[in-house]
């Protein structure tokens, strides 16, 4: 057991991938000598060389498009998109090429490409540096979408994502990059596509992922002082979603609140609400509620505390759920 930040955990995870998989590559803007703008790839260029840790031209479609070509040649690229809001120039290569080429080929081609994207707000950044674009990718068949919420998951999930033969969009909650926690580097606790029950409870279920897992945990701790016993589930995988633990929890508590930073409209929370309504209809004591970013562009950073789901908004939603 070692204590480390999420950045360090990702770095160590990538090192293990590069050591174990001779065909793996790291590619992106500034991932080489600089070690990435968040230092996730720090030292990899020195230890694995410029041939495997590739500083690319500044063009996101090019990064994903050439990663596809490298994968067709038998390489296993791990791409970095520098910030969430910079992924859109690569949209065609992600949703029409990376996602669909294996299916187009009738299963004869596999594209083991991982695309790491720091996402979410709360860091006081300028426009395009705080977005949560996960729903676009979770909506696209052919891609798998996951997000880590803590260093231990970061360490293992990046290795698991790189070990599979399907393309994975790997969202990293950038405002949790420097939070420290214990990491067991001996064995993975969970499969990549399993949800995790973070805290058990009987009053209501909070469903979160990435940066909002911490928000939900804090809300549950605060609620406990008021005598409310909240269960917290970290989805981890957004495509495919691991439904069974979610359904089991809601059948137990009868109430669910989904928490994410992305706008609520047509988002992950909407899909969770729909599926929970279908599968847990007779157990529900209240409609599934959502605490999300508002349906507006991410605001100027001085307003982000008002935009992002926080402890008070989560507890307010729990109260509303209990009022039914």
């Amino acid at each position: 057991m070692t204590t480390m930040t999420m950045v360090k955990a990702l770095n160590e995870g990538l090192r293990r991938v590069l050591e174990d998989q001779p065909r793996s590559l790291v590619m992106g803007e500034d991932v080489g000598r600089l070690g990435g703008v968040f230092r996730v790839t720090d030292g990899l260029h020195k230890d694995f060389g410029a041939d495997r840790i590739i500083d690319t031209p500044l063009a996101e479609s090019g990064i994903i498009g050439t990663a596809i070509g490298l994968a067709l040649r038998g390489y296993r690229p791990i791409c970095e998109i520098q910030f969430d809001g910079f992924v859109y120039p690569a949209f065609d290569q992600l949703v029409s090429q990376l996602a669909k080429i294996p299916n187009r080929s009738g299963g004869r081609v596999r594209l083991p490409v991982v695309v790491r994207i720091p996402f979410g707000g709360g860091i006081g950044a300028i426009e395009h540096h705080s977005e949560s674009p996960e729903a676009y990718f979770a909506h696209t068949a052919g891609l798998k979408v996951v997000t880590c919420s803590n260093p231990a998951d970061a360490y293992w999930m990046i290795q698991q994502a790189a070990a599979g033969d399907d393309p994975v969009i790997f969202f990293e909650p950038k405002r949790r990059y420097h939070a420290k926690a214990d990491v067991d580097t001996g064995a993975a606790a969970l499969d990549l596509y399993r949800a995790r029950t973070v805290r058990e409870g009987r009053t209501a279920t909070l469903i979160a992922y990435g940066p909002t897992v911490d928000v939900a945990e804090n809300a549950a701790a605060a609620a406990a002082e008021e005598g409310l016993d909240l269960e917290v589930i970290d989805l981890r995988a957004l495509s495919p979603i691991d439904w069974d633990p979610l359904f089991a929890s809601v059948r137990k508590t009868g109430r669910a609140v989904v928490v994410h930073e992305a706008p609520g409209n047509i988002g992950i929370g909407a899909e969770v609400a729909a599926r929970v309504s279908e599968e847990c209809f007779y157990s529900l004591e209240a409609p599934v509620l959502r605490v999300t970013g508002y349906d507006v562009p991410y605001p100027a950073s001085r307003l982000e505390d008002d935009y992002l789901p926080n402890l008070d908004r989560v507890l307010d939603a729990v109260d509303r759920s209990l009022e039914y």
């Binding site: 031209p57 070509g69 490298l70 038998g74 798998k144 033969d165």
Partner: protein
Amino acid sequence: MGDQQRPARKTAKNRQKSASTNEPEFVQLLTPEGRRVNHPDYDLKLTDDEYRGLYRDLVVTRELDAQGTALQRQGQLGLWPSLLGQEAAQVGSGRALKPQDTVFPAYRELGVQWCRDIDLISSFALFRGTDLGGRDVAADRFNMYAIVIASQTLHAAGYAMGVAKDGAVGTDDGEAVVVYHGDGATSEGDFNEALIWAGVFNSPLVLFCQNNQYAISETNARQFRLPPHRRAEGFGVPGVLVDGNDVLATYAVTETALDRARRGEGPSLIEAYTYRMQPHTTSDDATRYRDEAELDFWRAKDPIVRYRKWLTAEKLADEDYFARVDTEAGELVRELRARVMALTDPEVAEMFDNVYAEMPPGIAAQRAEALEFQASLDEGSEAR
């Protein structure tokens, strides 16, 4: 901003011919009249059999392509993008490839596919709608058709990076990669990014632009002010303009570019100046944007007519040979036609089976539901 295309004053000085009937300076080894001419930088010496083989390739390509159009007209294909007029660009470049080279096509490269000796049925299945054009691309060294314009240029650039990483370049037997695209593709970001990638990583990539003068209805004037072969220089990549209706010239310039790539000397761009004699696809109506005079201009530059004249003049082939090729092409067309008609609809399960290497439970459940639902309908119809 207003439309910048103002009516040109019809003075002798600034009066311009339409782009597609303007004769640029290009590499040419065989004139439209079938006369062999020399070029200071490019030459081609093939065996007599190889020269005859090129004629066979040109004719077979034209006939198989015509069959694609016919099958669409008869309701057997949903769509067909004809390559009529572009046979020399495809056959010349296709025959310049060595077995170890890898091709990334756009969606009109039936002639290249023929030259690579790859089963053509995949292209017909794609346009019949019985599958998505999937093949064993690793074994074929010929990738799937790419419908999104220029998307394949980046795949080729990445693949070529991998070739260099594998140490498969640097000798006369090295591997090269060629990507086919059109004039419209040069406006896409992906094309420009591919040139940047290939340039900065010095990858063994040849970008083969078939400038057939049209991106559906839009002429070159709406795609660039400086033609692609000249723009290449801005990327630090050599560019060459070749007569795309001259099979000897396209062969020679492609062979030179491929050899350069395989020796590790880097990428290049070939602009093959040709003409799309048919509409964009069978869904297009080209009479809305071009006239017969333009077609006549290009008919006079037909790639097969000039090559046949030259073969005849050089006594490399005679009427007997040409007749034999026609007979063979007819047989190939009949065989292909029968196979296309025999392509059956896929099973419902197939739409679910290959989306992921590891099928997620949700898709597995939908697959089962869809099959069960279909079976219930079948039972119902049997009961009636």
